[in-house]
Amino acid sequence: MLRREFVKYLTAGAAGQFILPMAGANAASTLNVFIIGGGMAGATAAKYLRVWAKRLAIDSLVSVTIIDKSDNYVSNIMSNMVLTGEKTLTSLTYSYANLKTKYGVNFIKGTVNRVDLENGWIYGQINNTGPTDIVMNATPFNRLVLAAGISLDYSTFTLNVPAQVYANPYDAVPHAWQAGAQTTLLRNQLVNLKAGNHVAITIPAGPYRCPPGPYERACVIADWLRVKKPGSKLYLIDPSQTADGRPPVEPNNFGHAFTNIHRNLVYVQNAKLTDLTASLSGATKLKTLSIAPVNGTPGNAINALSAATALTVEVANVIPKMQAADLTRSILATGGLDADSRWAVVDEKSYKSPVSGVYVIGDSIKSANQPKAGHIGNQQAKVCADAILREFSNVALYDAPVTNSACFTPVTTALNRQYGARASWLTATFRYGLDTDNSYRMLKVSTNIESPGAPSKDNFESMKKWFTSLMQDVYS
């Protein structure tokens, strides 16, 4: 029943109970929302703006357009299973067709170069071809949502790759942290390993996208190596350190897996990559990683690095330090970024930027407590969409929105004859409120809760449902 909801919506405002002052863009008679980035957060915001506008019978007033450089979204979630051959990139690829046809979301394929915030024009390259700085939107936007994700920062280590080893030096260090061609590159390097060759994964300093991701990846690659490349080891280089040597993320789940399941996994804490040099040994491409302690005082005597060392492997999966997408940082350069100019500052009640008319959702934001991940990006997008519609309708924002993070993670693969494919999960819930420093932000209302017991087949089956449902909530 749309009418009832609409009536309630209007009467709440009419009664004077929730009226906000109308000012600036709020006075516009229509909403023209442009969303840059069609990933988990951006696509969700587009869909829910249209779905809820329709329920409120204001959909004729609400235009929503996604701009993305690609016709399809490739899910980062589950992409570690592409590395092990258990999934294909095709199976993780989602089109914008449903958003267009079912919900009336407009879509422009292209690469954004810059934004004229004052006048509502977006400049860039349409269809990724031709002029690179032409106006992309036919009508000026009055709300801009930035959901452009992350960019990668390689400045934390030196990279020495002779041209005879790799024509493109970055092919020596595939990150595979933005699913697609990078995933294929890393997968192919793993497949081409000889038995007894070794692999290293380096974890960046936080915050980074998907906190459990590197540990999950270490688990499934180690499991795959044990069967496919006997004698090969997986080195996991972690800048964090803990008193008991267990991973800082999901210590129970990953601690159990590292100790009891993946005996070919060598986990090193308090360790950062300072240099990577590639070389040839015959036809084999070697990567020598220089590793140094992060903290002069090792935090444990189990696996915390105490002195600089070097490690030579055949595959180096370097996950670089991260920051908000370059475009996001450019648009928000004046007044919209944190002190390090790395992440977008927002009010997590609405995801509104201090830069007028702009909202930022997903992995680009600075958040004290919410992680960077697709599941919570989906929920942030709904809070943002709700806030945009409430403000447009002069209805007060919800005082204390709730978001949640849930992440299922495969811990073993179907190749594992002893365990089969098993998974674990991590979840937490958040609510907007006043923090101890007298600032409002999303606060954790639960601690990080790990799945009880050891990784299980049941959890693996639940993981499939979780992923299917989540992606339906975004793209179907």
Partner: protein, 113 residues
């Protein structure tokens, strides 16, 4: 029930004292809060196959009752699950943040799908 809700809205607009029943279900808030549920559970705006159980067709009382039950499976003092079943524990964490009013708002909104 639909007429009842509309009547209550009308009374609210006229500034008439709102009784506890009238305050029980806020659709605007329910819409936002219940969107946490649609990540995993269907509403009728979403197709559904291969995911978790759908909530489509469940009544207000069923959803509200389930939320209350799940909330009790998380100990807010120790901040741990009181259930060792992973599914029960997961839902305990997810139901835990909500006030009774919010659970009513969620249940009402979802039961209208």
């Amino acid at each position: 029930m639909r007429g009842y809700k509309l009547l209550l809205c009308g009374l609210s607009a006229l500034g008439v004292l709102i009784g506890s029943e009238a305050q029980a279900y806020d659709l605007n808030n329910g819409r936002l809060l219940a969107s946490n549920c649609t990540q995993c559970h269907s509403t009728n705006v979403l197709p559904k196959s291969g995911g978790y159980d759908s909530l489509v067709g469940e009544s207000y009382n069923e959803i509200y009752g389930e939320l209350r039950e799940f909330k009790q499976k998380f100990n807010t003092v120790t901040k741990t699950c009181t259930e060792n079943d992973p599914k029960e524990c997961l839902m305990g964490v997810h139901a835990m943040p909500y006030t009774d009013q919010e659970m009513r708002d969620i249940a009402w909104y979802l039961s209208q799908r």
